[in-house]
């Protein structure tokens, strides 16, 4: 995925003078020889042109997994648990990619949970009420799920445009606009269909939720996705290297290139291997056997990659592209770094800010549709307090509240770290209030360490 793409375009490039990540701080040795090892690590990261902050987060994530794996006697480290954690991370991760751009440009969006709730509910209404009851379309038809998702996305975009317009063109602070949105859009859900629970969802629509058996893409498609991603990694690294060489710029040494390719592909294929080692649970296997008139004895059906995770991968790539490879993303960062400079450079800052909110709304719509599909029901409480999880994911993922700093891949990893902590604590039997205490403390701790590290780096 994008975290291994070596061409670092974001401000968090290596050697940027920013200090070590919290994780590095934690492991930063005090003794002389260990300090030398630490310096070697930094130098190595610079030579390989990898983002040390991001690498630190990945190491921390693996550390969490191993820790909970040990504490749960391996229960946490099963393919089944990885499947569940990844599916549960998707909604927050998708919205966090948009929140990065919002926070980078020195704004905030408190309404994402409510937008997600409203759009998810409207996706449910589209398929259960408007299309089928009012327009008499056949239930289970191919077009139904597409229209439902489109409704969620378009409504999200419109709400985002309203927020963005008020922030950018009227000049109301984003905190106020989206605080209003937090209340208003949630309230509006109850005015639709009297706030009843709408269930169940269309069969095709529920694929988006990742529930079994329909929500995973199966054995061979999983490998194909893995191989396509590997080809993408190799292609991206080699073309950028060729281009830099043609301009006579310094390039990373060959060993660094090869380790990046091997490391990246191994990570991708390893993940696909884990997904393909999750067999369909016995009850569902028997049902499958009965449906296909075969014997269930010894039948093992690998589940494969979850559909919503595949969607998240796609969104991550698109958002990463928008952020680092398009002028729009560059403008967002420039505005976050110095709004006056951005204006004086001739950037249409208002339109750019509007764009970040529209994008945020679209992502909320997608997250709403996925969450509704996962619950297999449209309920009024979908996305409640998700704004806090989304902001936390973005911030844990290295987004700075001062603006101008953040990455898409960091936000996605931030969301996975949070979900891993949550699931891990459930697995080891920590009770719910203590989970909140732990996650809340972790958030402050992570950001606090980062702040201290950055101050020292200056």
């Amino acid at each position: 995925m994008t975290q291994v793409s070596g061409e670092v375009q974001t401000p968090s490039s290596p050697g940027s003078g920013r200090g070590p990540t919290p994780i590095e701080r934690l492991v930063r040795p005090v003794t002389g020889s260990a300090a030398a090892g630490y310096r070697a690590l930094r130098l190595g990261a610079r030579t390989m042109e990898i983002d040390l902050r991001l690498a630190g987060m990945v190491v921390f994530l693996i550390f969490i997994w191993l820790g909970f794996g040990y504490a749960s006697n391996g229960l946490f480290l099963t393919p089944r648990n990885f499947y569940d954690v990844s599916v549960q991370s998707v909604s927050v991760a998708i919205m966090a990619t948009g929140m990065v751009l919002i926070i980078v440009s020195r704004n905030i969006d408190l309404s994402v949970g409510s937008i997600m709730g409203l759009t998810g509910y409207m996706a449910a209404m589209t398929q259960r009420v408007w299309l089928t009851e009012n327009l008499h379309l056949a239930y289970g038809g191919f077009e139904i799920w597409i229209i439902a998702v489109l409704v969620a996305v378009v409504v999200g975009a419109i709400i985002g445009a309203i927020h963005g317009g008020l922030v950018a063109y009227v000049g109301i602070p984003a905190f106020i606009v989206t605080l209003g949105g937090l209340l208003a859009w949630r309230g509006l859900i109850f005015k639709l269909q009297q706030g009843q629970t709408i269930a169940p969802m269309d069969k095709n629509f529920s694929i988006l939720g990742g529930g079994l058996p329909q929500g995973a893409i199966g054995f061979w498609p999983t490998w194909i996705v893995g191989i396509v991603l590997c080809i993408g990694i190799v292609y991206a690294l080699i073309t950028s290297r060729r281009k830099r060489r043609s301009y006579g710029f310094p390039i990373r040494p060959q060993w660094a290139l090869i380790s990046l390719i091997v490391g990246g592909c191994a990570t991708v294929l390893g993940a696909m291997f884990v997904y393909n080692n999750y067999p369909l649970p016995p009850l569902l296997t028997q049902q499958f056997a009965a449906d296909h008139h075969i014997s269930a004895d010894g039948l093992v059906i690998p589940v494969g990659l979850a559909a919503p995770v595949l969607l998240l991968l796609g969104i991550g790539l698109v958002m990463g592209f928008l952020t680092t490879r398009r002028p729009f993303g560059r403008y967002v960062f420039a505005i976050g770094g110095n709004p006056d400079a951005a204006t004086l450079a001739g950037i249409n800052t208002k339109r750019t800010i509007l764009g970040t909110f529209v994008l945020m709304g679209i992502l909320c719509g997608l997250a709403g549709a996925i969450q509704t599909a996962r619950l297999d029901a449209g309920v009024t409480s979908t996305g409640t307090s998700y704004e806090l999880l989304v902001i936390a994911a973005a911030v844990i993922g290295g987004t700075s509240f001062a603006g101008g700093i953040g990455t898409i891949q960091g936000a996605i990893i931030g969301a996975v770290i949070m979900q891993s902590l949550k699931s891990g604590m459930v697995t080891v039997g920590l009770d719910s209030p203590l989970q909140d205490v732990a996650i809340g403390s972790f958030l402050v701790f992570a950001v606090g360490l980062d702040t201290v590290a950055q101050r020292r780096a200056k």
Binding site: E7, Q9, P11, S13, G15, S16, G17, S240, K243, R244, S246, Y247, F249, F321, T324, R325, R326, P327, R330, Y331, F333, A334, G336, G337, N338, D340, A341, A342, T343, L344, A345, G346, I347, N348, G404, I405
Partner: protein, 273 residues
């Protein structure tokens, strides 16, 4: 035959007499305060006009109407004799007006090339940013201005004042500027870097670019400018040819608002306390 030298003189003076830029009767006020009041200045191709005055004299405000940062309340801007409307920085750039701001106006969190091309990024055929091409152009231009500049992949915040200045100047001259506004270009620089900026100004002048030079440093202005326009309390005191005046006379304009003919020897002597 006898007409020929005459007509040549006429033609030559016609070229130099059509101002590249003319700011006519510009007024800008903030609330009830008249920051700039009925100021008229002009600039010819290949000419450096020094714009001097004390703090709050209105130099920067006047020039911001030309760079598009803050539109004038009234007055007219002519470029090559044609009236233009400049609503924003983008519009100014489209007319060939580039500005080097006193605070440099750089985004601290992105690298040199990103700042260099901010708002006019180079794109590949597929519409994505062509970072390699942008870095290449940035290295070429800045390498010429400042051979010691090597940190092209780090955020601007970790660069020195001189290096930042190189980015700001390089960015202004790379895009075929015809009119350059430099607001205190040497205020934050050391002696070596200041000398470098002076060289750049002389070279740009020889290429026919018109430059408005705003500076506190009267010696800078005397070294570089052809004409000097002095402002005081938002009004133009006057514009003089550098060759016709002494630094003391310009100081008298800045401090007392008196033109060289109006000022007495005694007042001039008092300037030095």
């Amino acid at each position: 035959m006898s007409i020929s030298p005459n007509s040549e003189t006429v033609a030559a003076s016609a070229v130099t007499d059509t101002p590249l830029v003319e700011l006519r009767d510009i007024c800008v006020s903030f609330g009830g305060v008249h920051a700039v009041q009925d100021v008229t200045v002009n600039l010819r191709p290949g000419e450096v006009v020094g714009l001097v005055g004390g703090n709050g004299a209105g130099k920067t405000t006047l020039i911001r109407t030309l760079s598009g940062a803050h539109p004038a309340d009234s007055g007219q801007i002519l470029i090559n004799g044609r009236p233009v409307t400049i609503l924003n920085p983008r519009g100014a750039k489209a007319l060939g007006v580039e500005t080097i701001y006193q605070n440099l106006a750089l985004a601290e969190n992105v690298d040199a090339a990103a700042n260099f091309f901010l708002g006019r990024e180079l794109k590949s055929r597929l519409g994505s940013l062509d970072d390699a091409a942008m870095e290449s152009a940035t290295r070429r231009v800045i390498g010429r201005l400042n051979p010691n500049f090597h940190n092209f992949k780090v955020p601007v915040m970790s660069l020195s004042g001189g290096q930042r200045q190189s980015i700001a100047i390089g960015r202004a001259i790379h895009f075929d500027a015809r009119i350059l506004i430099m607001d205190e270009p040497t205020a934050a620089l050391g002696p070596a870097e200041t000398a470098q900026v002076r060289e750049v100004i002389k070279q740009l002048k020889s290429e026919g670019i018109g430059i408005f030079l705003i500076s506190h440093d009267i010696h800078d202005v005397f070294d570089l400018a052809d004409r000097i326009s002095v402002m005081l309390h938002g009004k133009l005191v006057g514009t003089v040819n550098k060759a016709d005046v002494t630094t003391d006379e310009v100081l008298a304009m800045i401090i007392m608002g008196k033109m060289p003919g109006e000022v007495t020897q005694r007042e001039l002597a008092e300037l030095h306390g």
